[in-house]
Chain length 394, copies 3
């Protein structure tokens, strides 16, 4: 525990207080490290059965505009860990569809909200913008004396980034590699992979290249032609790499990306241009157009069935032992589909690390909340550790 | 804080203990004032980061038979504020549709319930009756030793009244006017306004005229011919006005109502007679009849598009500065609809007070629970204030 | 309280720690008695307003693959009683349908889960198997360091048993009869009864004959020919009866079963063979076949309308005063259906005991959790009793 406290003392996180979490590249490196450090500290406390209930009451509001199991449970777990009750805003059950403005709803649900978690990843140009609208609304509401506290936003996945995923992924890598200082010069392959479904969000690959380039790693983004991610995020990755002493490369070959890689992250996504087109089609309620686009994308995908994480490809990685990563659920060849992103034997061999990877998400979310809601997180961690109140009675 | 405690000491609220909240006009004026006082006290405690968690565990059951965002969140917030977890009875997920009696369900969900909150506002003659059936059932269950405690009912909107709304509205007025003693002689215009939707419940206008007439105010109810509210509630309003030294008038002119008004509350509702007709049609599963009625009502509404809260009308109010109120969401001309209840510029100018108005609802609900579940609310508030346990650690 | 503590001290429950609850007949008699004792103890504490919050935070995960009101609320109540927040895994809202394995989902939702409650009673051969798959998954996840704790499973109804129901029923009988020692030689009639609906699960009759035969009672299972339960469970019942000094008999006459019975439990269920057939039809997506089977079963049911718990039949029971039991909701003749399982006058006379019967379920579930999660339940009950922390402030 002391090492986390000492580490946190050495980092500058004062601007996180009363802030929000939208995109990893809007945070300083110290701020990112503060999150990982607090996440590890909270996990350490819980593993020693020490309560981390820093709220006696209060709400965490969740808004899921897309299906979710693991992120939903991660958010609920994070809130519970800190003492908050989750209240889900189910837009189907509400009057939101009846023309209410975002500003109004955001305030109406926030009178006792300490946190708002939002997933809105379906439409390019919409999700992140919606989150900003929510934050602007509650910030104004707090200034105007309507809200007694400004809830902090946690981006649970938008059209641009999936920061709770990428931050959990990074913490997994840090712990697997024995410390953040060991990441410099490591090669990460973020590559497209074939899936029989279509239209998977871009936020995972974008989040990974946007974050891993901060850590001095050699990040290779690989995909077939036509599967480009958002150009703005590629620019971010380039700039990050230049600053961190790492590199960012884009290739159209999975083999090239896997060659000598320390870490591989093969995963399907939809082309950015197609997602933009879909957003427009939805905007025009052009359902025939959407169907046609779906067929087109599936046909396009089917041309790239050779983009799969096979045993053969894994052998070409560093010592044949690259760390295989995935945000889950993966499309596993012969298990969840006929042909998919990864060979069943590869997936099976990495099951434990994959589950461990996922297990960081609740702690990462809790750390984001912790640093946004408490002015002196160092002192608070010290106090929790010292009080050592049991989470579960003995 | 001391002023709230002193105030509460001066009021007679002893009959509220182990009681329920159905309609404001079933409560004494002391009892209503007790709710406002406790609501202000709870808010004061929370603003000073003092925990108001008076339950260590226990459930608040919610039953929403109509869509809801703000009332759902207000109820969840109130329960959380006091330490209760919310468990929603989603009738779609339950076996209720399978012929189960209200009596049975009410008991089955209440073994650990301290509170039951119900919204059932759709059908005339049904909602309030259903709530009484639930309360009778759990009262009997408690007497028979089936339930260890009798949960208290909070009416979250019925066919007759919307007491958590009107009580929050009244507390807003009290605080805006600088005290309940300043309300005497103030003119309130509760008026119908045009909306392109149809069939909005009567419980808001009924709740407002049923409550504001208790406070010595001059209450004017305005609507086009054919938009009558329940005659029983008009009788209540008349009787209230006679007793409180205020007045209750009904007019068919929005201009007349607005003239020199201190407070205006322009809002659409469906005519009582039409709502009764709709209830019968639903009872007979006459869906063609319902569709025909909808068209009829929309056509009837469309004749009264001039019933709108415009800048011109606002200028005719007291000093041109009446307090504009609404239960939200409002139909705003040019924003949420082409022509609606209120001009966008009027709505915008009053946004802060409108949100503030809404912010009282969680506290009003919590106060209703507090006074029903605790025998000595004065002592309990004193203890909370003295213990000063932090809601959020520092 | 002391009597419960003394009783618990005398029982061997050490193997329950870190265990799960699938079927009553997998538990020793001491273990079953431990559950009833802890359930009574928790109830006694709550009745004296003493907090039983043994968790400061943590989650209870619920997975309902069939509709539920009372079991859903019982599980939520039990979790709340112990300090856990409920997080429901709504498979409709999740990505589970997208080919994810049970193993993965089980781990993904369990990072902070202390309990998992599952209802999966629809398909013969599936529900219990699914629960085992979940438990195996989280046990492995805990061993592999993915989960910090192994959540305990509570079977909230499977295709074989409905242990939270039968255990609550048994506790009701024990308390009605003045102690477990008074059950020896009592006659229990678990009989089929006519219902206009079809396809009710077998888990209640199976649970009852599988449990009551442990207690030295004379258990009679009665049903029309063709309404057999699972043969494996009949074998269990026979073996139990031989060991406990009771008896297990199967008859095809309701009158014979009711004759001199101390307890009667008349309830509709579907024939085992038909349920197996339905499972196959669903497996083949043969919806025409399912419809045909439904009609067949309804026609078959209709031949046995004389299988009803009438006043006449009740008169033939011991002193005409057998204890009438039901898991609720019952199909009441002339109330919830034209012709059903029980006469309205019989049901009405037993309403209080029926509700009391149901009221044990939350405590039985809480006791299952308590004994699985705490190594020294005796000391913990003593501590709760001594600390006497108020559940509701005074």
């Amino acid at each position: 525990m002391q090492k986390y406290i000492d580490k946190l003392k050495s980092l500058d996180h004062k601007n996180m207080y009363e802030g929000d979490f939208f995109l990893t590249w809007e945070k300083t490196k110290d701020e990112l490290e503060s999150i990982w450090t607090v996440a590890d500290a909270l996990r350490d406390l819980r593993e020693r059965n020490i309560s981390t209930k820093v709220f006696d009451s209060g709400l965490g509001i969740s808004i899921f505009r897309d299906n979710s199991t693991r992120t939903r449970f991660s958010f609920a777990s994070a809130c519970n860990l800190l003492g908050l009750a989750v209240q889900d805003l189910d837009e189907g059950k509400s009057q939101i569809a009846h023309g209410e403005t975002v500003r109004e709803t955001a305030n109406m649900v926030s009178f006792m909200a300490d946190v708002i978690g939002i997933r809105d990843d379906m439409y390019i140009g919409k999700g992140n913008a919606y989150m900003h609208e929510v934050v602007d609304s509650v910030t104004q509401g707090h200034k105007d004396g309507v809200l007694e506290q400004k809830p902090t936003l946690v981006n649970l996945q938008c059209d641009i980034d999936h920061p709770t995923q990428s931050m959990a992924d990074a913490l997994h890598i840090i712990n697997e590699m024995g410390g953040i200082e060991n990441l410099k010069g490591k090669k990460v392959a973020m590559t497209w992979a074939y899936s029989p479904s279509y239209g998977k969000p871009l936020s995972v690959p974008q989040g990974i290249v946007g974050l891993m380039t901060r850590l001095g790693m050699d990040v290779v983004l690989a995909h077939p032609e036509g599967y480009e991610i958002m150009p703005e995020v590629e620019e971010v990755a380039k700039k990050n790499a230049a600053e961190s002493g790492g590199s960012f490369t884009r290739v159209n070959s999975m083999a090239e990306a896997f060659k000598d890689a320390d870490i591989v992250y093969p995963k399907s996504w939809a082309p950015f241009a197609a997602m933009e087109k879909r957003t427009d089609l939805y905007g025009n309620n052009d359902f025939d157009g959407i169907k046609a686009l779906e067929q087109e994308l599936l046909a396009q995908n089917a041309k790239h069935k050779d983009w799969a994480c096979t045993e053969e490809l894994m052998k070409t990685t560093k010592d044949g032992k690259a760390l295989y990563m995935h945000c889950l659920p993966a499309d596993i060849t012969g298990v969840s589909c006929k042909e998919g992103e990864v060979d069943a034997s590869v997936f099976d061999r990495y099951r434990d690390p994959l589950y461990k990877e996922a297990s960081y998400k609740p702690y990462v979310i809790a750390a984001m909340i912790f640093l946004a809601k408490f002015k002196n997180p160092v002192a608070l961690l010290e106090q929790l550790n010292q009080d050592a109140k049991a989470r579960q009675m003995k």
